[in-house]
């Protein structure tokens, strides 16, 4: 088995160690043959490497550098970085082995991509700070009946409505009448509709003393229920609702010569334009016991005796004013104090987030959800990835300029890109769907051949400055005939000719609507169509290639 983690440089303050004893014990229960340490910066952490070698002496430590994310390029290249990172992570995995992914360290982008890679591979995950906590997976649901989907979706919306209505006594239990209130779910069909979810462990049921049957959604069932709830929403909204995360800003530190700048809205500014905003404000504090999730309005009343009450009220005022300036709609925001990895907390967070979104839409109408995954705190990073994935929301990451405070590399020139160029689209649901799809052998071969051919041709034009004159042979896609010739002449130990040498150019058609391949007709020279892979297409092809090598045992 492979253990996959992103390199980090901060040890535990108390122990001075990078990995806790409980983490080591949990990981040791797996047969770890190899450790892949993804290096996301150019500054290796040798003490971590030494500790890994010491703790897992029988495992091979493999260092795999990831291209550092950077603003030092033109806009279109910057935008491609998340896809390229995912591609690199997947390409470094050994497909002959199972993988165990470690979450809880690295930037929001790296953690999301590690999580996505684990879902694509169907692998297990483990939190570095809470190795015993269970991590939900975007399960491959076997549910096909519409009524079952609608019923499961109703569980999600009912859970959210319970929070909006501040219902305290139901603890998530619902009966058939409750479920029947949702579109598509009918009271008389609840028993039949819940059979498969019960079997899969998505819900549990029990009899009340009065003889009624009541149901409750489980942790495992939450992502599935959320997915079906999201599917039940209509898709025609053109307005964007941004869900973003930020630390609760400290406004009360006014004294001293060098007060910290109070930046809250600047976290969201690069994500503009958006039409609606929901912010999740987060804080760790010893002043408050336990973990709390509530709306910002409620928090302004609940935490009235704490030292950060002014911070909450100040944040509320900043958001109110800024939204007014930008004609951005808001309803209320969410506050999380002391987030943790506990499964109940994770579920509670997701339910509260959904209730906030439903609450927003009840006032302003339906919006398209957009998640900015830059700044969730570590304990909720994976929950945010799961939520955004299950709800098929557009996902983005805000790249810090290299010279900005908080960026890894300082004291160099700040990015000259406009702010919105720092917003990177991040692969999420679409990547998972295309990767999970079972491509038939002939079609699989076409994608692989196109990838290999592109690699060969791109190598020949590498290392040239963008404004250098380009020779006639620059890569501008390939014709079907070129793919055939390439495969015919390919010297490799496995056969990818099926579907290419035996098929015609019409075989390219299915890839176009799936956005795996781009086609265009050149304006000069040949009048034949030319094809090239999209980012997503390249990613799929690289995975299919890995499968071929695994099948062939190469």
């Amino acid at each position: 088995m492979q253990l996959c983690l992103v390199e980090f440089s901060r040890p535990n303050n108390d122990t001075g160690l990078y990995l806790s004893e409980s983490f080591t014990n949990s990981v040791s229960s797996f047969p770890i043959e190899e450790i892949i340490l993804f290096q996301s910066t150019e500054q290796p952490c040798h003490p971590l490497q030494d500790e890994l070698k010491m703790l897992f002496p029988d495992s091979i430590l493999r260092l795999e550098p990831l291209e550092p994310i950077s603003t030092d390029s033109i806009s279109s290249k910057i935008q491609q970085q998340p896809w390229q990172l995912l591609r690199t992570i997947l390409s470094k995995l050994d497909y002959c082995q199972e993988s165990l992914f470690v979450f809880g360290r690295g930037t929001g982008l790296h953690q999301h991509l590690m999580w996505l890679a684990s879902e694509i591979r169907g692998s297990k995950g483990i939190y570095i700070d809470e190795p015993d906590a269970e991590i939900n997976s975007i399960a491959n649901s076997q549910i096909e009946a519409d009524i079952t989907k609608a019923t499961l979706g109703a569980f999600a919306s009912l859970a959210a409505q319970e929070i909006i209505d501040k219902v305290q006594d139901k603890d998530g239990w619902v009966n058939s009448d409750d479920l029947a209130k949702s579109a598509g779910a009918i009271a008389s069909g609840v028993n039949a509709a819940t059979q498969l979810p019960l079997k899969e462990g998505y819900i549990i049921k029990k009899e009340t003393p009065s003889g009624n049957t009541i149901y409750k959604l489980t942790n495992k069932g939450w992502p599935v229920a959320l997915e079906y709830y999201a599917q039940s929403r209509s898709k025609d909204s053109v307005k964007d609702l941004l869900v973003s995360f930020a630390r609760l800003p400290e406004i009360q530190i006014q004294s001293g010569d060098n007060p910290n700048p109070l930046n809250l809205f600047s976290h969201f500014a690069p994500s503009q334009p958006f039409d609606g905003l929901v912010v999740v404000l987060q804080k760790h504090t010893e002043e408050v016991e336990g973990s709390h999730i509530m709306t910002l309005d409620d928090a302004c009343d609940f935490f009235v005796d704490t030292s950060f009450i002014g911070d909450l009220r100040g944040a509320k005022e900043i958001l109110r004013q800024r939204c007014l300036f930008d004609s951005v709609k808001e309803k209320t925001h969410l506050v999380i104090i002391n987030p943790n990895y506990n499964e109940n907390f994770q579920l509670n967070f997701s339910k509260n987030l959904l209730s906030t979104l439903i609450n927003f839409e009840s006032e302003h109408g339906q919006y398209s959800w957009n998640f900015d995954i830059t700044s969730p705190m570590n304990p909720i990073k994976i929950a945010v990835s799961i939520f955004s994935n299950a709800s098929n929301a557009a996902t983005s990451y805000i790249l810090k300029s290299q010279g900005e405070p908080g960026a890894v590399i300082k004291d160099i020139e700040r990015s000259r890109h406009p702010r919105h160029s720092h917003k990177l689209p991040v692969p999420n649901r679409f990547a998972l769907e295309v990767m999970k799809e079972n491509h038939k052998e002939g079609y699989r071969n076409i994608l692989v051949a196109l990838m290999l051919l592109e690699d060969v041709m791109n190598d020949s034009v590498a290392n040239r400055l963008p404004f250098d004159d380009t020779p006639e042979t620059h890569f501008d896609g390939v014709e079907w005939k070129e793919i055939q010739n390439f495969v015919r002449d390919l010297k490799c130990p496995y056969d990818i000719s099926k579907g290419i040498l035996t098929g015609s150019v019409t075989r390219m058609r299915p890839f176009i609507p799936k956005r795996l391949v781009l086609r265009h007709l050149p304006e000069e020279g040949s009048s034949k169509l030319r094809f090239k892979l999209t980012n997503e297409g390249y990613l799929v092809a690289s995975q299919l290639y890995a499968e071929i090598t695994k099948e062939e045992g190469v």
Binding site: S73, I74, S75, S76, K77, I78, V238, P249, I251, Q252, Q254, P259, N260, P261, L262, N263, L264, F265, S266, A269, P270, Q272, P273, D275, I309, G310, D311, L312, R313, G314, A315, K316, E317, I318, R320, Q321, R322, L324, F325, D326, S327, R416, H417, P418, R419, H420, S421, L465, P466, F467, D468, D469, T470, H474, F475, D476, H520, L521, E523, E524
Partner: protein, 386 residues
């Protein structure tokens, strides 16, 4: 001997709550204010600006309709209460002289500071997108008096954003249109930089830089009254008379693209030659016949390039930067088609309901169709025998 201490014995002006007037419940203790989410002074250039209440706050219970923080309302000076600043009216002499009135004349420093604060707050983090073509200074001291305005002019550079824009901002803010402050600032800046500074940029690229979307542009008509204020009318007139794509506008746009990293930087020699080539292409466009007696350039501008529904004061917004983009794209294609593709995708992104499609008319949107644009470029090149 102790130092002489000058004592200001003038009576302090009374304070007022914008909603309760003199029936206010004042709170001005720093700690108590901070608990309510307010600060007494702005120590850093940050979001503190939204929480500053230099005179304290009124903690009366205000009606929810007033759209203020429920935890307090910043107090103002009594003289500011219910005081709507009178529109600054230019004298006939000023009108005849130029667009920008001479510095010493005009509204008081405090009015200008108030206008500047409004504009700065409305732009928020995007204030820095004004540079270029304007320059941004960190702040203008509120302790400077009216008589010192000339000194400020010396300190700040000639392109200091507020110095150039304030007459237009005051005009815009004083109109009774329904647009937000930010919407008024954005259209003001776009028209000014295009007309006066000849800083050229397609309008959707500009609005995108300031974090706004199509709906902001749809509302642009509402941000100004049907009868434009004098300064605005002069800007529109100037664009209509003066603006035509030429070497200088191409140069402005390529600098803009390089600054915003839509394309890579070029050294000065390459840049000079690139601009010449793009300008040559513009000339080819003006000479290549499209159909019958019309040149390709005339064909392009024979219909509105910008969606006629996006108008301000009855005038369709200028098509600045669109023809120039074609020239730059065509020139780039000769250098590297992949770089040209990158630029094309950055200007005309393939996304759901793209802003450029909404901004351009059906005629103009054809430019964002790569097949059509490439055919046009090929046609122009072939007409010139290349």
């Amino acid at each position: 001997m102790s130092d002489f201490v000058w004592v200001d014995d003038r009576p302090a002006e009374r304070l007022a709550c914008p909603h309760c007037y003199q029936n206010l419940v004042k709170m001005d203790d720093s700690y108590e204010m901070s608990i309510r989410g307010f600060v007494k002074s702005q120590l850093t250039d940050s979001d503190e600006r939204y929480l500053v209440a230099i005179h304290g706050i009124c903690i009366n219970e205000h009606s929810p309709d007033v759209n203020e923080s429920p935890f307090g309302v910043p107090l103002i000076l009594e003289s500011e209460y219910d005081h709507i600043p009178k529109p600054y009216q230019l004298s006939e002499e000023e009108i005849e002289k130029d667009l920008v009135p001479p510095t010493p004349a005009g509204p008081s420093m405090s009015t200008k500071n108030a206008i500047k604060t409004k504009a700065t707050n409305a732009l928020g983090d995007h204030l820095y997108e004004l540079d270029p073509p304007y320059t941004i200074e960190q702040f203008m001291s509120s302790h400077q008096h009216d008589g010192e305005s000339q000194a400020i002019g010396k300190i700040n550079s000639s392109a200091y954003w507020f110095d150039l824009l304030w007459p237009f901002l005051i005009d815009g803010f004083n109109t009774n249109s329904s647009g937000t402050i930010k919407e008024k600032v954005l259209i003001t800046v776009y028209l000014h930089k295009t007309a006066v500074l000849r800083h050229i940029e397609p309008i959707w690229m500009y609005y995108k830089r300031f974090g706004t979307n199509s709906r902001t542009l749809e509302r642009v008509e509402a941000s100004m009254p049907a009868e434009l204020p004098h300064h605005f009318q002069r800007l529109i007139d100037k664009i209509e008379v003066d603006y035509e794509p030429d070497r200088s506008t191409i140069e402005s746009l390529i600098h803009n693209f390089m600054h915003n990293k839509i394309c890579q930087k070029m050294d000065s020699q390459n840049l000079h030659s690139f601009i010449s080539s793009a300008n040559d292409f513009l000339n080819e466009m003006k000479h290549a016949t499209y159909s019958g007696h019309m040149s390709c350039y005339d064909f392009l501008i024979s219909n509105q390039l910008v969606n006629p529904t996006i108008r301000v004061g009855g005038y369709v917004l200028p098509h600045a930067g669109i023809i120039e983009t074609i020239c730059i794209y065509a020139t780039l294609q000769h250098k590297s088609s992949s770089t040209a593709d990158d630029l094309f995708r950055a200007v005309f992104p393939s996304e759901n309901a793209p802003m450029w499609k909404m901004v351009l008319s059906d005629h103009g949107a054809a430019i964002g169709d790569s097949v059509k644009l490439n055919r046009l470029i090929k046609h122009i090149r072939q007409s010139q025998g290349q």
